[in-house]
Amino acid sequence: MSLGQRVGGDRQLARLLQIGVVLEEVVEARASQHFRSLSPEGRAELGEDIEELLEHAAEESAEHRERLEALIDELDAESVAYEEIEALVAAKYDQPEDFDGILYDQLYGEETAYKFYDDLVEAIEDSDVEFGVDHDRLLGTLREIRAEEEEGVQEVTEIMEERA
């Protein structure tokens, strides 16, 4: 999303929130897929920190998804079922070669989500359109989610640095 771009109305806002839901679902599905793809030995080697990170990423994405879905519902639009995205992720999933590959994938997912919310918040702030959802609640929700994504980026980065 480029600077100066604004959100034009309810339909575009709903579409962008749907994209947010899908990004969360991709993070959630890939985190689960990474974990499932590991052998029992691989899981044992994984280390508690990475296992907790994957679990936390999946839980947090599910929680973000629910908050976005509440906003989408108020805009009289429909969300995207997690099962649908989970199947699409599984269909194109290539298991990373090693644990660093898993961490890099998580980092990429968190960074993309952060950038998406950061741009979306800015575009809504710049917009003078009256949306079908309360402006303050909309921005408040998106800012909170953005802050949690930023924390997620830091958490993955710290684990990567510790492993280096």
Partner: protein, 142 residues
Amino acid sequence: MNTADQYLKAIYLIERTGDGPAATGELAEMLAVSPASVNEMVGKLEERGLVEHEKYKGASLTDDGIARAEDALQTYCIIERFLYNVLDVEDFREEAGALEAVIDDTVAERLDTIIDRRSECPDCFDAEADACALLEAEEPAD
């Protein structure tokens, strides 16, 4: 995709369908902006080494410009395909046009992990129709 990328994509498509550079009038029509806006942006793109502009003929892309235009076109194709295949949006072309300005390349790359895009993308883009030719072929018959 930012405004500059939208211009590069438009020049790329006009050059591909025609025999020469993209004229100011053609770009203004395709992007629904004034000729003055086109001249201003083409000048900026020229300064950045992405476009060469010849007076009375029009704008053509440099090698760097072509590479960036192809990236922009891929992003557009990802958005179209995502809207159609994942969100079941009927007016996916119209909405892709509106969303391409507000979807970042990194977000498009992530969406690309769940859609089935051909390896020849964006070469298969139908420049005259300004749409993905293969996606058209996949549409159900009425």
